[in-house]
C-alpha cells in the first residue's frame, strides 16, 4: 500500500510545533511553545512585545533555528529533537522544499526595491520554480487585481504607500502557491488609515480557507477573522481559545491585563 505524503497532508495538521525552545544569548525567548494548526485555520497570535511571538513564527519557517523541539509542516518533519535534546533539521534540499509551502509577509514588507511590482511577484516563480514567463505573468497580474493593485504593475516599490507595499508583498508570497501564510505583524509599520486595505486582503485570503498564522496587534482582526486566538507572554503560550471567548472572558490574569490595556 503506497502511503503518499499527499494522503498524509489531508489528515495531519498543517503546522505542528512541539516544545519549541529558543534562546538569544542569555535570554530564553521561547520556553517550550507547542501549537497545532489545522488546514484552513486562521490563528492570531497576540501578546506584548518581546513575548516571543515573532520569534516563534520565524522558527516555523527556519528563519531562526530552534534550540529544541519539533516542527512538522503538513506531516513532514522540519526539525526534530531526540531524547537527549539534540535538534536535527531535515537535509538542506528537503528543508527548502518544506519551507516553500509557507509564504511569509513581513512587518517591513521587504519588497525588492530594484524590481518593479510585477517583477517582485514573478521573480521567485521564474527562478525558483523555473516556470515559463508566459504562465507566470498572467498569474501575477491576476494576483495584483485581487489585491487591487493591477495599475501599479510597472511601479517601483518606493512609489507605493505602505499599505500598497504590503499588499504587493502578500501577492508576492501567494505567487509561490503556498499552503500556509505566515504574517509577522503585517500592519504594525503602517499608518492607521492604511491598515484597513491590508486587513481586507488578509480577510479575503481567510475566506478562501488559506491556513494562516498571524502575529498581530490588531485586536479587531483577531476577533473578527481568526478561528482561534493564541496569547503569548514571556516566551510561552498562556492561553489559546476561540476569539469570542478570548475577548469576552479571558481565563488567565496575564491575558486579562493585556487585553484591558489593548482594548
Amino acid at each position: 500500500m503506497p502511503s503518499t505524503t499527499n494522503e498524509l497532508a489531508n489528515v495531519a495538521p498543517m503546522i505542528v510545533a512541539r516544545a519549541i525552545r529558543k534562546r538569544f544569548g542569555l535570554v530564553e525567548v521561547l520556553k517550550g511553545v507547542s501549537l497545532e494548526i489545522a488546514k484552513g485555520d486562521v490563528v492570531a497570535v497576540i501578546g506584548p512585545s518581546g513575548s516571543g511571538k515573532s520569534t516563534f513564527l520565524r522558527c516555523l519557517n527556519h528563519l531562526e533555528t530552534v534550540d529544541a523541539g519539533e516542527v512538522l509542516i503538513a506531516g513532514e518533519t522540519l526539525v526534530s529533537s531526540d531524547a537527549a535534546g539534540v535538534c536535527r533539521y531535515a537535509p538542506d534540499a528537503e528543508l527548502r522544499r518544506i519551507c516553500r509551502r509557507m509564504g511569509m509577509v513581513f512587518q517591513h514588507f521587504n519588497l525588492f526595491p530594484h524590481l518593479t511590482v510585477l517583477q517582485n511577484i514573478i521573480e521567485a516563480p521564474l527562478t525558483v520554480k523555473g516556470m515559463a514567463r508566459d504562465t507566470v505573468v498572467p498569474k501575477a497580474e491576476e494576483l495584483l487585481r485581487k489585491v487591487g493593485l493591477f495599475d501599479k504593475c510597472d511601479s517601483y516599490p518606493a512609489r507605493l504607500s505602505g499599505g500598497q507595499k504590503q499588499r504587493v508583498a502578500i501577492a508576492r508570497a501567494l505567487a509561490m502557491e503556498p499552503d500556509i501564510m505566515l504574517f509577522d505583524e503585517p500592519t504594525s509599520a503602517l499608518d492607521p488609515e492604511l491598515t484597513g486595505e491590508v486587513l481586507r486582503s488578509m480577510r479575503q485570503l481567510a475566506d478562501e480557507h488559506m491556513t494562516m498564522l498571524v502575529v498581530t496587534h490588531e485586536m479587531a482582526f483577531a476577533r473578527e477573522v481568526s478561528s482561534s486566538v493564541v496569547f503569548m507572554d514571556a516566551g510561552e503560550i498562556v492561553e489559546a481559545r476561540a476569539p469570542a471567548e478570548m475577548f469576552s472572558s479571558p481565563a488567565h490574569p496575564r491575558t486579562q491585563a493585556f487585553l484591558e490595556h489593548m482594548l
Partner: protein, 217 residues
C-alpha cells in the same frame, strides 16, 4: 604651437601605455575584487580569513614596492617564481593591488543590504547564489557606484607609478621632454590629458548612476 605638435607625438604614445595599463587593470581587478568580496562575506571562515589577510597585505604595502617585488624578486621565489617582462609585471601588480581595494568596496556594498532582503528571498525559496545574483548584487551596484568612481579615478593617476619599471607612460614621457627641453609645457599638456581621461570617467559614472536611479530606495 609647432612645439606643441612636436611633443604631442611622444605624449600620445605615453597616453596609450597609460590607457592600456588602466583598462587592463580595471577589466581584471573588478571581477577579481567581486570574487574576493564574495569569499570574504561567505560562511567559509578559513577562506574569508585568508582573503582578509590578502587585503591587509595588498593595502598595507606600497603599490610601487609590490611592482618592484614582482618584477625583480619574484623570479627568485621558489616554486611560484617566474620572470615577467615589465608590462605583464606591472599589470599583475596593479590587478592584485586594486582587486583588494575593489573587494572592500564590494564588501561594504554587500553588507549594506538589509537582512530583510535576504529573508524575503529565502522565504520565497531562492538559494544563496540566486539571492546574491538576482537580489543583492543588483542593489549593490547602485550603492557602490560613487566609491567605485573614486577608486577608478585614482587608478588612472596611479598608472604613473609604472615609471619605476622604466615604462614610458604619459607622465614619464612628459618628464623626459621637460628634462630635454628645459620647459614645463609638457607637464601642462600631461595634466590636461589626465584631466580629460578623468572627465570621461566622471561622465561615464554619472551616466551609470543616472541609469540606476530609476528606482529609489
Amino acid at each position: 604651437m609647432d612645439y606643441l605638435i612636436e611633443i604631442l607625438g611622444p605624449l600620445l604614445q605615453g597616453t596609450a601605455v597609460t590607457l592600456q595599463v588602466f583598462l587592463l587593470t580595471l577589466l581584471l581587478s573588478v571581477p577579481l575584487g567581486l570574487g574576493l568580496a564574495l569569499v570574504r562575506v561567505s560562511r567559509f571562515h578559513l577562506a574569508s580569513a585568508m582573503v582578509n589577510g590578502y587585503i591587509w597585505l595588498m593595502r598595507g604595502t606600497p603599490l610601487m614596492l609590490q611592482m618592484l617585488f614582482i618584477y625583480f624578486a619574484l623570479p627568485f621565489v621558489p616554486v611560484i617564481g617566474v620572470r615577467l617582462p615589465d608590462f605583464p609585471a606591472a599589470i599583475v601588480a596593479f590587478v592584485l593591488n586594486y582587486a583588494a581595494y575593489y573587494a572592500e568596496i564590494f564588501r561594504a556594498g554587500i553588507q549594506s543590504i538589509e537582512r530583510g532582503q535576504y529573508e524575503a528571498a529565502r522565504v520565497l525559496g531562492l538559494s544563496y547564489g540566486q539571492t546574491m545574483r538576482r537580489i543583492v548584487l543588483p542593489q549593490v551596484v547602485k550603492r557602490i557606484l560613487p566609491p567605485m568612481s573614486n577608486e577608478t579615478i585614482t587608478l588612472v593617476k596611479d598608472t604613473s607609478l609604472i615609471y619605476v619599471l622604466a615604462m614610458n607612460d604619459l607622465l614619464r614621457a612628459a618628464r623626459g621632454i621637460v628634462q630635454r627641453d628645459f620647459t614645463t609645457m609638457p607637464f601642462v599638456v600631461a595634466a590636461a590629458f589626465y584631466l580629460l581621461m578623468t572627465l570621461v570617467l566622471t561622465w561615464g559614472f554619472h551616466y551609470l548612476e543616472k541609469r540606476h536611479a530609476v528606482y529609489d530606495e
